[in-house]
Symmetry: C2
Subunit: 398 residues, 2 copies
């Protein structure tokens, strides 16, 4: 089914002026402009299918990652998609081990975020060609093929290829039932939309009331800048949601949940080895796309640590839902102590936005990785020449 040679790669700097409203603000990021490095790859196949990949960034950081994508582009261009996915581990290594780029990484920060954007586009293209959403492509994939996508370098002390295969083969049992369950009920979510650090009390109350009306039962509050202020804000929310619902400072309230900042599988391995986390938060863009996330999901399974993905930003919800739904169906087979972050921002800019029902992520049905953005949105928000930024920058100058 896989077809075509990649003949074009374009990359754009897309920014949303979220800092104007305090959305996404926390103790370390006081003026975040949610942004995306948006990569589109095209093939010479006649189907006209494009692969769209994003990586999440914050404002000014985007221009640096765009530059890194351009530096990686020659690895992708003129490659047959068949050859890429036929030796996906090899291709992953080629990108992450580029002799002239690994010095400024490797597998971390700017170059790894760029790698994620490129590989997310490859996964979107692959899944679209197969006519399946990425979660379903993964669920239907032979365990040996899944394992061939993973680079096990530096993690074989806790997860070998054989370990991975064994986990995936065990995961085949009951898979059909779990897939049905997901399609009917979705994957449980919690919301972070109500209580960003920069919100006024009025905004907080209003958003909280709306979220309750929408059926949310699990709420996260951003804290960490000022203790007294944190206590006051938590009190407001607890008063509104009542004693039964979940109020999370970190998800689930007890134990350390971390991972959104972990820059590769090796850091996750070390945290797991050190028993330093109780809830593991993968990020679909900080790690090297589906390939590296697979290795982390499998390590989490081996250590019996629940995965509670990081999401929000631009497009992170769209992407990570595929990973966590696959995780439930084919790897963890459990929903105990698990939930996926949800933030109600910027979904309107995507062609295939997430669908939340009864506070759960409903499995996407459209082919691909849900990464495709509306061309009109991209044009409007391109930095600095899009309409939105032209106006803002002109206003700043006056």
């Amino acid at each position: 089914m896989v077809r075509g040679r990649i003949c074009r790669l374009s990359v754009r700097d897309v920014r949303f002026p979220t800092s104007l409203g305090g959305h996404g603000s926390d103790a370390m990021h006081t003026d975040p402009d949610y942004s995306a490095v948006y990569v589109v790859i095209e093939t010479d196949a006649e189907d006209g299918i494009k692969g769209c990949g994003i990586t999440f960034t914050l404002g000014k950081g985007t221009e640096v990652v765009v530059c890194a994508v351009n530096a990686l582009a020659h690895h992708v261009l003129d490659k047959d998609l068949k050859d890429i996915v036929g030796d996906f581990r090899g291709f992953y290594r080629q990108l992450t081990s580029d002799g002239q780029l690994r010095w400024i990484g490797p597998e971390k920060g700017v170059v790894h975020l760029a790698t994620a954007a490129v590989l997310n586009a490859v996964w979107d293209l692959w899944a679209k060609q197969e006519g399946k959403p990425v979660w379903k492509l993964l669920v239907d994939m032979d365990p040996r093929m899944l394992v061939s996508c993973i680079d096990f370098r530096y993690i074989t002390d806790v997860l070998t290829e054989e370990d991975a295969l064994e986990i995936l083969q065990k995961g085949q049992v009951g898979k059909k039932e779990r897939e049905k369950q997901m399609l009917a009920q979705g994957y449980p979510a919690y919301t972070t939309s109500c209580a960003w650090l920069g919100y006024s009390d009025d905004t907080l109350k209003q958003l909280c009331a709306q979220a309750l009306k929408d059926g949310w039962t699990r709420f996260k509050v951003k804290v960490g800048a000022d203790l007294q202020d944190d206590v006051r804000r938590c009190q407001i929310i607890r008063d509104m949601i009542g004693p039964e619902k979940t109020l999370a400072l970190i998800p689930l309230g007890i134990g350390i949940a971390t991972g959104e900042q972990c820059h590769n599988r090796v850091i996750f391995k070390q945290l797991l080895q050190a028993k330093a986390l109780q809830f593991l938060q993968i990020d679909s863009c900080r790690l090297g796309s589906v390939n590296e996330n697979l290795s982390v999901l499998l390590m989490a399974k081996k250590f019996e640590i629940p995965v509670c993905p990081h999401a929000g930003g631009v497009g992170l919800c769209e992407l990570v839902q595929h990973l966590i739904i696959f995780d439930y169906i084919s790897v963890s087979a459990s929903l105990k102590n698990r939930m996926c972050e949800y933030v109600d921002h910027l979904h309107e800019h995507f062609e295939y936005p997430v669908m939340i029902q009864r506070a759960s992520y409903m499995p996407p049905k459209d082919p691909g990785y849900s990464t495709e953005m509306k061309e009109e949105s991209v044009k409007k928000h391109q930095y600095p020449d899009g309409e939105v930024w032209k106006k803002l920058l002109a206003a700043q100058e006056n």
Copy 2:
């Protein structure tokens, strides 16, 4: 003495086609083009003094770091040098905690290499204004002032401000004698120039013979691609240098020497805590300039681990000599099991190249951080428009 407001920052992509000769090649980097992101800052003071900063990169990676320097530039422009060095810790934090850039770092990879280039330029400017080489500026600096340059975030579990001050105050004893000793004898070095992985046996023999003639007694061989080949190459060198001289696969042959890839002080802290290294290799450009290297030198002292700096590349010898000479005079007060790497490449492009005598680094006497490059060299090697690259790129196309 410190004066002027920074009114201009320029950054250039300077590459040397070292991959053509196999210089710098090792198991992970088969085609390195030694490169530098070269930053020059100018003030409005009438003295015309410029601060020059470099960070070491490899070929294509340079363009990404250049982009990151441009993204950081607004933190430096229109600042008084007096305000920067008067609250150097604050300024360091401002650069490393930029709310829109830390997501793509923080304090690692591309953004941290860019931070190093900018801060190296600030140190060069400061030292030139004071009329001293950086090592001497540091040696003469009041311990309280030194400590005020360091960001102790995330390392106070092993090194507090008070610990640092105590170490530096103890280091005052015998300082004058050690300074005299350095000026007379220099700091012991070892050479990596003879045995890069990509060299032919003939080249290896020829360079080894020349190094012996130049008085070298300590030699490092790059290994790791193929065991049989490594054994053969080591045999060739041992036969040439005889049984008495030092042949290092990693410096000093026994124990783990590491650090050139450690991306910040926190990683060094963790390796020290885990007793995972026996020789600590700081890098003057991967860490956040003098500021962050100071914290690592002090932690190494606390753990009694000898520092054996990483050098080579472009300009790393020029920079790191200042740090290790300061370390001996004011911190470690010991030469036991210590030596500094030396590689005989590309020094001719610097205004104030290192001076090696009797296999030792002789303390620089010119004011500044020895970071200033010859304008002619920069022009020739700018990528892709310099004369050298124009020719190479044209030849590639034919």
